[in-house]
Amino acid sequence: MTSLWPRIEPLLAKVQKPARYIGCEDGAQTPSHRAHKVAWLLLYPDAYEIGLPNQGLQILYEILNERDDSVAERAYAPWIDMEAQLRSRGIPLFSVDTHRPAADFDLLAFNLSAELVYTNVLNCIDLAGVPVRSSERGPEQPLVAAGGHCAFNPEPLADFVDLFVLGDGEEVVSEITSVVGNWKRSGRTPGSRQQVLRDLATLPGCYVPSMYDVAYDGPHIASITPRYPEVPDRVEKRTIADLGEWPYPKQQLVPLTEVVHDRLNVEIFRGCTRGCRFCQAGMITRPVRERPAAQVRAMVSAGLRRTGYDEVSLTSLSSADYSGIDDIVGGIVNDPMCQGTVAVSLPSLRVDAYTVGVASEIAKVRRTGLTFAPEAGTWRMRKVINKLIREEDLYGAVESAFSQGWQRVKLYFMMGLPTETDADLEGIAELARNCVAIGREYSSRVHVTTSVGGFVPKPQTPFQWVGQATVPELRRKVGRLKDATRRLKGVQLRWHDPEATLAEGIASRGDRRVGRVIEDVWRAGGTFQEWSEHFRLDLWEEAMARHGLSIDWYVHRDRDRDEVLPWQHLSAGLHADFLWHDWLDALAEAGVEDCRWTPCYDCGACTGYGIEHVVASPVAPAGGSQGTGQDLATGGRVPVQLLSGRRA
């Protein structure tokens, strides 16, 4: 048993938040490593308090530890102070479960949920004592794997990661374990690393970048070709057909120290077919698969009893769309076991499904933070992005909240969307102003926090071809919004740094050549780029220039339909024609309905994989404007004056 704990413990008094490094969470496992067991180190390449709650990582942690042929532990990116301590003493990256050196594992498996963590991935590989470039690793070194949403364009990391997994990981981790187990038993002889990667490349959902050649024609990609006949031309994502078969995590980790989302999390469905065109998550996780209501209830009640949490979050991409959400929320709030002390939070709420009923149930215990995401300020703009909520839907939702005692509501918008005009932008200020006016009917102290982020076009979406707004343009838009909201009492404007939006754009649609940029930024000390205090755009700009890569070409340029995109050989199941026509529909300001409740328009996600939606209710939830036969052409307005009569 090789534990680094005796060398790590003396460092803990010298670093901030030492509890990040001790493990000991309720639900943590101390697996016994055996020669025949494949050892996975599941890494979240950001700080412990961000990574610990990640549900994907926790699901795989349990599945792999339940198997006879594998074990799994966890690691997180050491904070900058701890990294300095480790490096100065030659101590490698370690797992938090048994404090084992990272390089003792057979696989280092990263969760990639955002592009700006890429430099941390390189840093973690390096801290593990493993060469950062895949081509320089030998058979004695672990395989480096990665999954998560960014795996749908992993090309900027192609030189550093041996293996990517596309889609749901529940099933494929077992298949990878079998292949890696064979390699382990064969003694990992010289040259065998190439063979195991070649074997892994034939597993459905597994993408091994070194098995593909990319040819260029000037700045453009000419072709992406498999190097061996058994390697597929196109890697298709994995999808579990029935979420009900995977009631994980069963033992959600309860951290000893403060983390984000510190509460019980129960995933109520996976996938979303609302069809918002900017939303990569919605595009790549189709179809909708609801967890059976009885299982949700069982997971909530067992989870609350085991963890002692007083808050449960019902997670999904759009939780109010769950069939019978009112019953589930009411059931938890009114459960005598909970004694009226368990709060419910619903992340990713669609305004058209947030009703007074849901609001009043939640308010019985505690008014959890409420964020609505209209995403754009005008009906025209929302038709372009296919976020078909009407102004009265938003006003209805905020009125539900204010009438149930909420004082503060957060609205989330994007700026720099395709075809956006200043009028669309000013619509944001107007929506915020009207929401405050509605709230004033109930309380004089209402606040509407209005957050605006720059839009980054994402791979595998209908907007994958469009140029991203420049930093000066985004700054100008922020300025206009500041002017428009300055005199609005109760409206607080917040915005995301346009420079960080630019760096995200470089990594988001980058190709393999951007790998050198990521490596340079990392070597120059650019880790924790998700953290504004550590973000350094100059490092990104210098590295792009050093390698002769044009930011304008990678980020701000519109692509043609014929262009070979860097992720052309990777599939989330969506037909290229579907995405292109959806883009044309966007330009024509035409919406599409939610196919859960309306006929299929054949995006490819179900038909291509022989699966279908798993939805308990054949009708859309009350209040939804999509798929309910409501007239989508109106986009009506509710003049706030009309509401003033209600005070009586």
């Binding site: 030492p18 000991c24 609350l304 002390t341 505690r366």
Partner: protein, 239 residues
């Protein structure tokens, strides 16, 4: 009804903060479904009051906590002595409930009552003889002035009056073990401040709080008398 608990915080869990420990207790109370009294208002919290904060990284076998039960939901024959066996398995490994006693309504709060703590402090980076010399010099000094940072301001402070007793009690694992009785009123002297005052080069090894005392009429009292309970210590953990 109010009760007072004594608990230990040892092992890896000592690297959690005072706030972290407060959250562990709240979760434990809910896990075992204790009928605690809750505060009124927008976010009701159980009525719990913690004693003096233990600095992150230090161990203790003498931590205290007062909790209040909801009289409407608490049976009249509620058995305090069963609490250690119930609560310890619901807490993280390393947090162990040692004793529980019912509390008189008039008992002052832990924060106000405790005046002195006894610590065992491992000093690294000097020989036992050298440390003995430092201790003798410190005890003989009329004043021991150190820089203390408070709310971002550096102030000079004499900690000598706060050192009630100080002695070398033996070699530790990698250093020299000191026993120190340090005042918590009017100003708290922390073990790290004591080491700094002894010698700037001394490094802090393991630190453990062994006692907290109140002082009244010249007598010292433990917040819970040491022989107050014979309840068996519960060392097994749930699942």
């Amino acid at each position: 009804m109010r009760v007072r608990l004594r608990f230990a915080k040892t092992g890896k869990v000592r690297w959690t903060s005072h706030r972290d420990v407060a959250r562990m207790w709240e979760r434990a109370f809910r896990r075992v479904n204790l009928p605690l009294a809750y505060t009124e208002g927008f976010s009701p919290r159980p009525k719990v009051s913690f004693g003096l904060a233990l600095p992150t990284g230090h161990e203790s076998v003498a931590e205290y906590l007062d909790i209040e039960f909801d009289p409407e939901r608490t049976a009249l024959d509620f058995d305090c002595e069963a609490l250690p066996a119930t609560l310890t398995p619901a807490l993280p490994a390393g947090i162990t409930v040692l004793a529980v006693v019912p509390l008189d309504e008039r008992v002052p709060s832990l924060q106000d009552d405790v005046a002195v703590c006894r610590w065992e402090i491992e000093a690294l980076g000097a020989t036992p003889e050298a440390v003995r010399g430092m201790v003798d010099a410190a005890l003989a000094a009329p004043a021991l002035v150190i820089d203390r940072e408070r709310k971002g301001q550096v102030a000079k402070d004499d900690i000598r009056p706060g050192i009630r007793a100080l002695a070398v009690i033996g070699p530790g694992e990698g250093g020299v073990t000191l026993a120190a009785e340090l005042a918590t009123q009017p100003r708290t002297v922390r073990p790290s401040e004591l080491l700094r005052a002894l010698h700037p080069e001394l490094e802090e090894g393991n630190v453990r709080r062994t006692h907290q005392w109140s002082e009244r009429d010249g007598a010292r009292r433990e917040p819970i008398p040491l022989d107050a309970t014979r309840a068996p210590h519960a060392l097994e953990r749930v699942s």
